[in-house]
Structures are given as structure tokens and as C-alpha cells.
């Protein structure tokens, strides 16, 4: 018997220790509808199996109640990750088989090298053949498949010389075994596969996540809405079922599912997802509104003008897809090396074969030399040079809260010479935080927390987060009522202040003067006490100034691209000493990036919102904070966690260090080849020499890569 189970995953940037794991898993387990919860420390995520009727928002609230901020991970991204994991696993299996075979064949080979002869040598060769043949057939598949695909298209890649080398070496060794010859290269062929597969596994761990699914992500921003029917009733309709001229009823705290014109209602909309504007936009009848924005204060009735694929938000998604095409054309450094490398290796092997034939050796000896050349030049160190360095760097960065999506992102990040930052949510935290200390007394705090939790208003949410962080336990309230546009009130139950009425909301509603500025103020009043004014602002991230200065010190050109108003951006730009372009629509940001590209710059775009999506996709490389919208996270190459901007600078430095180490690794690998190839051509490379040379060069390259462990300090 199976029950329908939904699966949700959340990013938990705040998980640090065993205590956190226990707190989360034990806090969620008793919750109604939760079947299982497991924290993954490596990826800083929690996976929850739950009843389908639990919404992600409820789970998020539960996690917040335990004291952890959680960001939902889109199902599309989670599924892509699972698919990647499946591919990685197939490679790990091949690597395990190759590793097992290489070890056993080496054991048998040791006795051959140490002088076994005659029947014993032949027996050991046969045993090696017995292990090697199925291993090559199984573990070689990833290389054979990719080599065959390249050859069929008339191209060559790194896998072509590998496949030819391995197959030739195996076939020749089998011939030697059958004829009782002295040299069999089974050990070389199989350990070559093993080393190369190690490189492949490392690379696939850093695999590029699927960039598709932007459309699916958009559906998640507003899955649908309540539509007014002809008889005055309302019914829920999915976003793709909504058509123009329908009337959409949007409750406070809900996202709009379509573009339209306001018919009834006065409210304010949080436009930050679309425009990056931090201040809520007041709307009244006849105002134009767009899908994806968040209705804050009061219910609205909207006449739909565009729905589904025709909305502004869908247009932005198309822009993003188009902008992302350019990046897929980026050729990775290993592939660029392979373009030169593969023809050179083939030519060398062919020349040495021809040379020995001319000198007068038999075809058998000439072929032996050619195979030795192929084995010795096989790019084992080269195949490990890049992935080993990148995986070590990515691991070091992950410990500092930067998740790199793929290896090419590190390569592109090292090339960036120019940074463009979005303001709202990137330079700033993107959520209101209290200005100064909260002026609340001890007994007021639990009540304020209980009221704040009852509302979806951004300021209430910010207050709840702040109080939870301070370890406040919410009071119990009765008769909690939210009046849209005014605030929340409720009656305290028990405690020293039992029976009092508490209010949290608009300053004039609790008995204070009118708010002084952008509505990021709220009032709180408990009973007949003096009302308290709580001021909030979207403040700069920690280390923003130091990070910008550090980027400039690296010789990068830094600037701000913001969709917000000039007067909102000016203080930020002044504090950081940057120039800013303001009031930019998504297409303007994209155009700005394209202009820089044309001028020959490699742009690093750092942004979070949907309005940055096209620019993130167009940038040479892009970063997004973990608090970014799903769209932002999908479009970015890497995600950084926490409230500090410093990880972005750390990522740039680590990427440059990685580039240095990769360069050294190439020099080491090619230097080794330059030494070993003459030996092979002269016919001095026995299976023993090949094994020693191959292992030592791979080990040197890996050891060099390990120096990157401290690159993210």
C-alpha cells in the first residue's frame, strides 16, 4: 500500500553543527503530515517527505519556528540534481570496477616484472586478460561512446586517443598472451581507464545543472489565482487556464497570476521580483499591474489583459533563454587542450610505427612501440589536471558558503575583469531589518512575535525573524484578527499581561503619528502602554564596502545596475564609491551587459531577482545570493549563502588561484610527456616503466591540486 507523498527540499544556509541537524529533524518529525525529514550537511539542505496537503510555505514556517531560515528549492532543480546524481553514480561504478581490476592486475604484474617466466608468466597474463577484458568493456563505455560520437561527426576530442590507446593496447596484449610473448600492457590499459575515470567522476560531481525549466520556475511564482465567475462566485484557476478579460481576485499576501488593470481596491504591490524596486508601489483602480508581483495590503480585483505566455514575466523568461545561448558556446580549457593534443598524439604514434617499419623492425615490434607511445602519452595527468583542481576549489568554496554549479563556471569566473551588481537583494539584504535595537520591553517581545507570525506582511515577517533570532518564545494569543491595510491585533492569554489587547501595524492605527518615510515603519502597542515605533530598512550586506574595495584591488571595474529609483540607489552607491545606472528594466540590464561584451569585457553579473535574470544569463559568469528568486538561482553559475557579500570576492580569488594551479598542472603533465615520449619512441618503455610513469604523473598532478584546499580563506 502506498500513500501519496510529496517531496520538498529547502536550502538551509544556517546549518552548522550536529545540534542543528538534531534540532531540525526532531522538530519536524512530530509535525502532522511530515513523514520523514533528513538534513544533508554536505549540500546544506533538508529533504522532507510529507503529505501532499502541506504547502512549502507551511514547512518553511515550521523551519522558521525551529529557528532556521529556509529557502525552498524548486522541484525542477531538485529533479535535475537527482538526474545528475544518477549519471555520477554510473561513472563511480565504472571507476570502482576499473579500480578493482587495476589493483588485481597490478598484483599479478608485479610477479611478471620481478622475473616470472615461461608457464607462470603466461598464466598470469591469462589471468590479467580474464580480468581486463570485461573491465575494459564495462568501464571504457563512457569514453568509447563519446569518442564514437566525435568520430562520426568527423571531429576529434580527448576521448578519441584514449579509446584508440586502450583498445589497441588491450588487443595487442591479448595477442602477446596468446602467442606467449613477454610484454602485456593490460595493467597500463586498465589503470589508465581508472585514472581517467577518477577525473570524469570529479568533473561530473561539478556537472552543470540543467538550465531548462525556467518556465516551470515561473509557474511556481504564481501557480494560479481566484477568478470571479459570472454568478459572482470565485473559483481557483491555474495560471495557464486564465484568459484575458477574466476578473482575478487577489488576496493580500498573494502573488498576481496574470497581467492586468485594477478594477477595484487600493493596495500596494511589492514589485521587487520584476523591477528590483524596494519600495512597495501604491496601486488604485485603473493602475496597470503585472504577474509575479506581490499584493501587500488589501484585496484587489483585476481585469486580466495578458495571461500565461503573454505576461511580462514570461517575456523576461524568453529573454533569459535567448541570453543563455551564448554561454553554452564557451569551450572549456580541457577541450581546448584536447584540440591540439589529440592530433599530435595520433601523429606521434603513427610516425613511430612508420619509423620502426622503415628501420626494419617487424610489424609486431613497430606496433608494440606505437602502443607504448599511445599509452605513455595518454592524457591521464591531463585528464586529472583540470577536474582535480576544480573539485578541490569547489569544496573549499562550499565550506565558505559558495556553491559552484559546474567546472566551467570557475574557469569563466577567473576570466572576469568587470563586475556589475544589482542593488536590491544583492548589495542589500533584500529584506527589511530593524534600524538600531528594537524598542520593545521584555514582556512585549513574546506578544510582538506572536502577532508578527500571524501576518504575511514583509515587515511583520522581518520582525518575526529578528525576534526568533533573539531566542524569543511566542506568547499565546486569542482572537487574532488581521485587518488588511492596517495590521494585526489579538488578546494575550495568560502570563503577566493576560487579557490585554495587542496591536501591530500601521503607525496611526496603534496611535502614533503618520509614518515618516517609505512605509517600512510599523507600530506596536500592548494594552494602554505607550505605542512603540519600529523602524526597518533594507540595509547593505555585511562587508559590502570591503568586498567592493577588494574587487577593485583585483583590477576589476565595478558598477551598479539597478531597477530601483535614483534616490534609493544614491546612498548605496555613495557608501561604496561606485557609479550606478538606475531605473533599468530587465532588457536595459541585458543591453548594458551586451555593450560591455562588445567592448571586449568579461562581465561578472551578481544579481538576485527575476529582473536580473536576462543579465545573469548573458553575463560571462554570474553569481546569485541564496535568497534570490528561483529564476535568479537557475540563471546563475554559483550561489552564495548568508548575509555577507564577502563570498563573492572569495569566489573570484579562488577561481583565479584555480586557474594558476590548472596552468601548473598542464605544465607538469606536458613536461612529463616531453620526457617520456622519447623513451617510448626508442622502444625503452616496458609495461613496468609505463605503469610507474603513469601513476607518478597522476599523483603529482593531484598533489598539486590539493594545494587549493586553502584557496577560499
Amino acid at each position: 500500500m502506498t500513500v501519496a507523498i510529496a517531496h520538498s527540499e529547502f536550502a538551509l544556509p544556517g546549518v552548522r553543527c550536529a545540534g542543528c541537524i538534531a534540532k531540525i529533524e526532531r522538530g519536524l518529525a512530530p509535525m502532522a503530515g511530515v513523514r520523514a525529514a533528513r538534513v544533508n550537511m554536505t549540500t546544506r539542505r533538508v529533504a522532507i517527505d510529507h503529505a501532499p496537503d502541506l504547502t512549502p510555505d507551511q514547512l518553511r514556517a515550521a523551519l522558521a519556528g525551529i529557528g532556521f531560515e529556509a529557502q525552498p528549492i524548486a522541484a525542477a532543480a531538485a529533479a535535475a540534481a537527482t538526474e545528475d546524481a544518477g549519471e555520477s553514480r554510473a561513472l563511480i561504478r565504472a571507476m570502482a570496477v576499473a579500480g578493482f581490476a587495476a589493483m588485481n592486475i597490478m598484483l599479478l604484474s608485479v610477479s611478471v616484472w620481478s622475473g616470472a617466466s615461461g608457464a607462470t608468466r603466461d598464466l598470469f597474463h591469462w589471468l590479467s586478460a580474464l580480468i581486463a577484458m570485461p573491465t575494459v568493456a564495462y568501464a571504457g563505455r563512457p569514453f568509447f561512446a563519446s569518442a564514437w560520437a566525435a568520430v562520426r561527426r568527423g571531429r576529434t576530442n580527448m576521448d578519441v586517443p584514449i579509446s584508440i590507446g586502450v583498445i589497441l593496447a588491450t588487443a595487442l596484449s591479448l595477442f602477446e598472451t596468446v602467442t606467449g610473448g613477454p610484454h602485456a600492457y593490460f595493467d597500463g590499459a586498465v589503470s589508465l581507464l581508472f585514472f581517467l575515470l577518477v577525473g570524469r567522476v570529479l568533473d561530473s560531481v561539478m556537472r552543470d545543472r540543467a538550465r531548462a525549466g525556467v518556465a516551470a520556475l515561473l509557474r511556481e511564482t504564481a501557480p494560479g489565482g481566484a477568478v470571479e465567475l459570472a454568478d459572482g462566485q470565485t473559483a481557483w484557476r491555474r495560471a495557464d487556464e486564465i484568459t484575458p478579460d477574466m476578473t482575478l481576485i487577489v488576496a493580500a499576501g498573494e502573488r498576481l497570476a496574470a497581467d492586468g488593470i485594477v478594477l477595484r481596491g487600493d493596495s500596494r504591490l511589492d514589485m521587487s521580483l520584476i523591477t528590483g524596486e524596494s519600495r512597495p508601489e501604491p496601486v488604485a483602480p485603473a493602475s496597470r499591474v503585472v504577474a509575479g508581483t506581490l499584493n501587500i495590503d488589501a484585496p484587489l480585483a483585476i481585469r486580466v489583459t495578458a495571461a500565461g505566455e503573454a505576461t511580462t514575466i514570461a517575456g523576461i523568461a524568453r529573454l533569459m533563454d535567448a541570453a543563455g545561448q551564448g554561454r553554452s558556446r564557451y569551450v572549456r580549457i580541457a577541450d581546448r587542450a584536447a584540440r591540439l593534443y589529440a592530433p599530435a598524439v595520433h601523429l606521434l604514434a603513427l610516425l613511430s610505427f612508420a619509423g620502426w617499419m622503415i628501420v626494419g623492425a617487424g610489424w609486431h615490434d613497430a606496433l608494440l612501440v606505437a602502443v607504448a607511445v599511445l599509452i605513455i602519452t595518454c592524457p591521464c595527468a591531463l585528464g586529472l589536471a583540470v577536474p582535480a583542481a576544480q573539485i578541490v576549489a569547489a569544496g573549499a568554496l562550499m565550506k565558505r558558503g559558495v556553491l559552484i554549479k559546474d567546472g566551467s563556471a570557475l574557469e569563466r569566473l577567473a576570466e572576469a575583469d568587470c563586475v556589475r551588481l544589482d542593488k536590491t537583494g544583492t548589495l542589500t539584504l533584500g529584506r527589511p531589518t530593524p534600524v538600531g535595537a528594537l524598542p520593545l520591553k521584555g514582556e512585549e517581545r513574546p506578544v510582538a512575535l506572536a502577532l508578527a507570525r500571524a501576518s504575511t506582511h514583509p515587515v511583520a515577517r522581518a520582525l518575526a525573524i529578528e525576534l526568533q533570532r533573539a531566542g524569543v518564545i511566542a506568547a499565546t494569543l486569542d482572537d487574532v484578527r488581521e485587518t488588511p491595510g492596517l495590521g494585526v491585533e489579538g488578546r494575550v492569554v495568560g502570563g503577566g499581561v493576560g487579557g490585554l489587547i495587542a496591536r501591530l501595524g500601521r503607525t496611526e492605527w496603534v496611535g502614533l503619528g503618520v509614518a515618516a518615510h517609505d512605509g517600512l515603519e510599523t507600530g506596536f502597542r500592548l494594552g494602554e502602554d505607550a505605542p512603540k515605533r519600529l523602524c526597518f530598512a533594507d540595509r547593505l550586506r555585511d562587508d559590502a564596502a570591503a568586498t567592493v574595495a577588494g574587487m577593485k584591488a583585483l583590477g576589476m571595474d565595478v558598477g551598479i545596475l539597478s531597477g530601483d529609483r535614483g534616490e534609493a540607489v544614491r546612498p548605496v552607491a555613495a557608501a561604496l564609491g561606485l557609479t550606478a545606472q538606475v531605473r533599468m528594466r530587465p532588457e536595459d540590464k541585458l543591453a548594458a551587459i551586451d555593450r560591455l561584451k562588445l567592448a571586449g569585457h568579461h562581465v561578472l553579473m551578481i544579481g538576485d531577482g527575476l529582473n536580473d535574470g536576462p543579465a545573469l544569463a548573458a553575463g560571462h559568469v554570474s553569481l546569485a545570493p541564496a535568497s534570490a528568486s528561483d529564476v535568479g538561482q537557475t540563471a546563475a553559475d554559483a550561489v552564495f549563502m548568508g548575509d555577507s557579500l564577502a563570498p563573492t570576492l572569495i569566489a573570484v580569488r579562488a577561481a583565479r588561484a584555480t586557474r594558476r594551479i590548472v596552468g601548473q598542472n598542464f605544465v607538469l603533465a606536458i613536461g612529463y610527456n616531453a620526457l617520456a615520449v622519447p623513451l617510448a619512441i626508442l622502444g625503452h618503455v616496458t609495461p613496468l616503466v609505463a605503469a610507474i610513469a603513469m601513476s607518478s604523473s597522476s599523483l603529482i598532478v593531484v598533489a598539486n591540486a590539493l594545494r587549493l584546499r586553502s584557496c577560499a580563506r
Binding site: 517531496h7 554536505t42 517527505d49 522541484a75 529533479a79 553514480r89 563511480i92 570502482a96 570496477v97 589493483m103
Partner: protein
């Protein structure tokens, strides 16, 4: 030689046993969260059972 005839198959079988054990542990998801495994030993078990099996994002049960 008679010793070898006995020892070589034993060595190969032991190696294959190790390989099989590794592949099983890989399939059972033991390498999915290396950092967490290191920390979980610090959690005091006071009668709370940590969930053993989780469905993956594709909704199928792992293992078996």
C-alpha cells in the same frame, strides 16, 4: 604452484567481495552526505529514531 592455484582465486574473490560491498554502499546512498555522517555521531539518541529511508526527489524508494 598448487598453493597459487588456491590463493589466486581467493585473492580475486576477496577483491570482488570488496567491489560488491562498495557498489552496494554507493547504491544505499552512504556517500550522499559525508559531512553529515561525521556530525551525526555526536547526536544523543534519546529514543528518537532518525528516519532511515527517504524517497528521492523522483519519488522512488532508494535501495532495494
Amino acid at each position: 604452484m598448487s598453493g597459487l592455484a588456491f590463493l589466486i582465486p581467493v585473492a580475486l574473490l576477496l577483491g570482488l567481495g570488496g567491489l560488491a560491498a562498495f557498489l552496494w554502499s554507493l547504491g544505499a546512498g552512504q556517500y550522499d552526505d559525508m559531512d553529515g555522517a561525521a556530525l551525526r555521531i555526536l547526536i544523543d539518541e534519546d529514543g528518537v529514531s532518525v528516519p532511515a529511508a527517504m524517497t528521492s526527489a523522483t519519488g522512488r524508494e532508494p535501495g532495494l
